[in-house]
């Protein structure tokens, strides 16, 4: 399952997507994230799943743009605040280097901005 955690508002689209079929609940993302965005536990969207899975904690879901900003220096440094104004190549490269994305061996985590 692709779990899209986040929101969209007048300023942009802010979703962290977790592919729960890839996630093995290893908890590496929890350690990697300086903002404590992730938690691992019972799958919120699939109560019958037995294995623990990563998800974005409730308190962070509605403010991801700000929670993730310390790791997203590229947005302001190179291309203004909006992801759409960042050159696509740079964005693609930087998105792979995010601590949470890099920490996930299975490649289960992706960011939309």
């Amino acid at each position: 399952m692709l779990a899209n955690w986040g929101y969209q508002d007048g300023s942009g689209v802010y979703f962290i997507t977790i592919d729960t079929d890839k996630c093995n609940g290893c908890r590496e993302c929890i350690e990697a994230c300086p903002q404590r965005v992730f938690e691992v536990g019972e799958d919120p969207a699939d109560p019958l799943r037995e294995e623990p899975v990563a998800f974005v904690v409730d308190e962070q879901r509605r403010k991801l743009r700000f929670a993730c900003s310390p790791c997203k220096k590229y947005l302001t440094a190179e291309g203004g605040s909006a992801a759409s104004r960042t050159p696509a190549e740079l964005l693609a490269k930087e998105l792979k280097n995010l601590p949470c994305v890099a920490a996930c061996e299975r490649g289960a985590i992706t960011h939309s901005w």
């Binding site: 692709l2 899209n4 969209q8 109560p47 019958l48």
Partner: protein, 305 residues
């Protein structure tokens, strides 16, 4: 606008309750219940061996515990059943952790996926739930298992509460908004504001300019439709589509959304032909609670095994 001297509650939508006349619950093996305590409405659904037995749909009170009790008491009215007769109860929705009679809380994402699959049938792949304070797009497989979802609960603009506020503001009963929004000569541009508060002041400006109420409603309905469409695109739109939640009853939004997507939502009717034949009421607002009751049944069976 002239001031309303008479205080009408224009936002007040129709509450409901129903008991299945064809079931004697005392003969049933498993009685399962789902209680969906939303930010705006509360539903309680009771199933006997996986068949719909009774339900209620009420306005939520200020507290989840109280809402859950009112919902279940209303659903059980005249049935002779009490909450102690339930083998398993699942709480869902915004207030799910505060449902005292539930054994487990399950998110509304999972419950809506399961509930809509059961109500509409396995052909449904994309579910749009327009709730009181959020909007969810859920993709499911043929068993109702969630494969992809996104939710927007950051503000009420694309949700039922926003529509309530708006209906109240322009002085039209929320039940008439849909029909009224089509009493227009040509489709106006959507209101530009994505926030209810700003949309309200924008509407005030339009009324002052001499726009008719129906035209303002049309502009608001299409703005809401567009907002929801953006979220649907994010998750991907795979037919068949179905819609649940209160806004599903508002054709002003639904038909404009269909136009934007270029696809129709499934007709609001039961997958189970028996239910159609017996004329059981089909209420889009109970999908979450139905999903809860179905999970409750599964969990009760799992507990026994």
């Amino acid at each position: 606008m002239a001031e309303n001297t008479e205080k009408k509650e224009l936002w007040r939508w129709l509450e409901a309750r129903w008991t299945n006349p064809d079931i004697d619950w005392k003969q049933g093996k498993i009685v399962s219940a789902g209680i969906d305590v939303g930010s705006v409405s509360t539903q309680c659904v009771v199933m006997v061996d996986g068949d719909l037995y009774c339900y209620s749909s009420l306005r939520s009170g200020s507290g989840s515990v109280d809402s859950a009790w009112r919902g279940s008491n209303r659903a059980l009215e005249g049935t002779g059943m009490t909450v102690d007769d339930w083998h398993y109860c699942v709480g869902t929705g915004y207030g799910r952790v505060n449902v005292p009679m539930s054994k487990r809380a399950i998110t509304e994402i999972a419950c809506h996926g399961r509930g809509a699959n059961w109500m509409y049938g396995p052909q449904v792949k994309t579910i749009l739930d327009m709730g009181g304070q959020d909007c969810k797009v859920i993709r499911v497989d043929e068993k109702g298992k969630v494969t992809n979802f996104a939710m927007n609960d950051k503000c009420a603009a694309g949700a039922g509460r926003g529509m309530e506020v708006f209906a109240d503001f322009v002085g039209v009963s929320i039940n008439d908004v849909g029909d009224k929004s089509f009493e227009i000569d040509e489709e106006p541009k959507p209101v530009s504001s994505t926030c209810v508060i700003f949309a309200k002041s924008e509407a005030a400006g339009l009324l002052k300019e001499g726009w008719q109420v129906s035209k303002v409603l049309a502009a608001y309905c299409s703005a809401m439709a567009h907002r929801v469409w953006e979220l649907m695109v994010r998750v991907g739109i795979e037919p068949e589509l179905s819609i649940t939640g209160g806004i599903a009853k508002n054709r002003g939004v639904v038909e404009r959304l269909e136009k934007e997507i270029g696809m129709k939502f499934q007709e609001k009717k039961w997958h189970n032909p028996d239910y159609i034949k017996r004329n059981y009421p089909f209420d889009t607002q109970i999908a979450g609670a139905i999903g809860g009751a179905l999970f409750a049944k599964a969990l009760a069976e799992k507990g026994k095994a």
